[in-house]
């Protein structure tokens, strides 16, 4: 797997480590996929079967999906770009070292049976 492939893995690791804000920005920019109209047309009936309007479906599948909507700071020049690339390379390297033998630490009481209102805070 190439270093480029590891960028999304590195981004997910940011989320796993609780850096949700950074995760949201980076995933919006770098994990995003354009959703062509034909694909949206394919998805809309699936939403309709659970009572979602076309607009609701479009909104949910385009929320993190348009690579053309870059935050303005990213366009501010070469220097900023290089910094971002360097950071991402570091993330990618981290991503490529995710061990297969992981032993994550646990959040008590959450997840594996049911969620609590507290989990949403």
């Amino acid at each position: 797997m190439s270093l480029m492939d590891m960028i999304p893995v590195g981004i997910e690791l940011l989320r796993l480590s609780g850096r949700d804000g950074v995760y949201a920005i980076l995933s919006r920019v770098f994990k995003a996929q354009p959703t062509p109209l034909a694909y949206r047309r394919r998805i809309r009936p699936l939403g309709a079967s659970v009572g979602l309007s076309e607009a609701e479906v479009d909104e949910v599948i385009s929320g993190s999906s348009n690579v053309t909507v870059l935050p303005s700071w990213l366009k501010w020049g070469l220097v900023a770009f290089i910094v971002v690339v360097l950071i991402l390379s570091a993330i990618a390297v981290t991503g490529s070292y995710v061990p297969w033998y992981t032993n994550p630490t646990y959040v008590p009481g959450t997840d594996y049976a049911s969620i609590r209102p507290k989990d949403f805070l």
């Binding site: 479906v57 594996y112 969620i115």
Partner: protein, 345 residues
């Protein structure tokens, strides 16, 4: 080797149940003939604490039908573990409510599977069960106890979600949505197709987007979705692979131990009457299917997936039942999206 304990042990304290749900993964009804005695159950609470377990989710069957459930619940609290109770909400008497309030669990969760009595009652196999669960939910919410609702989705109730949502809006409960898997009483023909599963994911994502947490706290179960290319995450906590035998542990009412209660009987790896829990949990061979996953264990699509090191091929229970083997979960949004794209071009 001593391992960190599970974050949450899911404990079926009895298989006895007063409903007859078509999707019940353990085909509950009658109590097992060899269920743990009160003394054994209390000792198990201590042993769970002994392995470093941080919380217990008490379920069944219907856990509140076991006469000594308050003693077990109290012991869980006494030894310092979190407690949640998952009940079907059927025929909860006022004295049972009082016992629940006395024990003061972190969470009480009830199951609602339809927005209309006709659907819920048909799924749950007992007329009048919808009315009862609604009353239970209202009572719990009124008491101020943290309350959750679980909806288990299959072909019969996929279309019910908007009505259930309407009912839960503004109640302050946490709503967990999960897919029914073909274990116990649920037959394959009722399991959602992959496209229906995608509809379910769209519903969760759109609802999360449309409503604030104040209006409705909704999330997919921890094993829903994985790394969609288009949809935002469906869960509260990020997916990091099947946690059977890692941060969760399943206990059957007769003391059988398995990595996760969602798995079928062939995954039972010991019984506390024959071997101490500590030994089972710390055994290197226990739950090796999640604790030591290699790339060669993965199905071909998962093996070539960017996220395989984190995901390791999805939910073991879904993968086992729907793909005939582990680490190849076909109910992966990423894979389904690829299929949708292909069928579109």
């Amino acid at each position: 080797m001593v391992r960190p304990g599970p974050g949450c042990a899911v404990w079926e304290i009895t298989l006895k149940c007063n409903l007859n749900c078509m999707h019940c993964g353990s085909a509950a009804g009658k109590a097992r003939s060899d269920e743990l005695t009160t003394d054994e159950a209390l000792q198990l609470c201590d042993d769970l604490k002994g392995i470093g377990c941080q919380g217990v989710a008490m379920m069944g069957g219907e856990p509140l039908l076991r006469k000594d459930w308050p003693s077990i619940a109290e012991r869980v609290r006494e030894v310092g573990m979190d407690l949640s109770i998952i009940t079907n909400g059927y025929k909860i008497t006022e004295s049972k409510f009082q016992r629940i309030f006395d024990v003061n669990p972190e969470l009480v969760t009830v199951s609602i599977d339809g927005g209309h009595a006709a659907i819920h009652d048909t799924i749950r196999g007992v007329p009048g069960s919808f009315k009862q669960v609604v009353a239970t939910l209202r009572r719990l919410v009124k008491s101020g106890l943290p309350t959750g609702v679980i909806t288990t989705v299959h072909k019969m109730n996929l279309g019910e979600l908007p009505t259930i949502r309407k009912f839960l809006l503004g109640t302050g409960v946490a709503w967990q949505i999960q897919m029914a898997t073909p274990y116990g009483r649920l037959t394959y023909d009722h399991v959602l197709s992959k496209e229906e599963y995608y509809s379910l994911a769209l519903f969760i994502a759109a609802t999360r987007k449309r409503y604030s947490k104040k209006e409705l706290m909704i999330a997919g179960a921890h094993d829903m979705g994985y790394f969609s290319r288009v949809l935002p995450p469906l869960q509260v906590y990020p997916w990091q692979g099947c946690q059977a035998g890692i941060s969760t542990l399943g206990i059957e009412s007769n003391g059988n131990i398995l990595g996760c209660l969602a798995l079928p009987p062939e995954y039972v790896e010991g019984n506390i009457r024959e071997r101490p829990l500590k030994e089972i949990w710390n055994d290197d061979a226990f739950s090796s299917y999640t604790r030591r996953v290699r790339r060669t264990d993965l199905g071909s699509e998962c093996a070539s997936c960017t996220y395989s090191k984190i995901c390791k091929g999805g939910c073991s229970a879904v993968s086992h039942s729907m793909a005939g083997g582990l680490h190849r979960d076909p109910y992966c949004l990423r894979l389904i999206e690829e299929g949708l794209k292909k069928s579109n071009s």
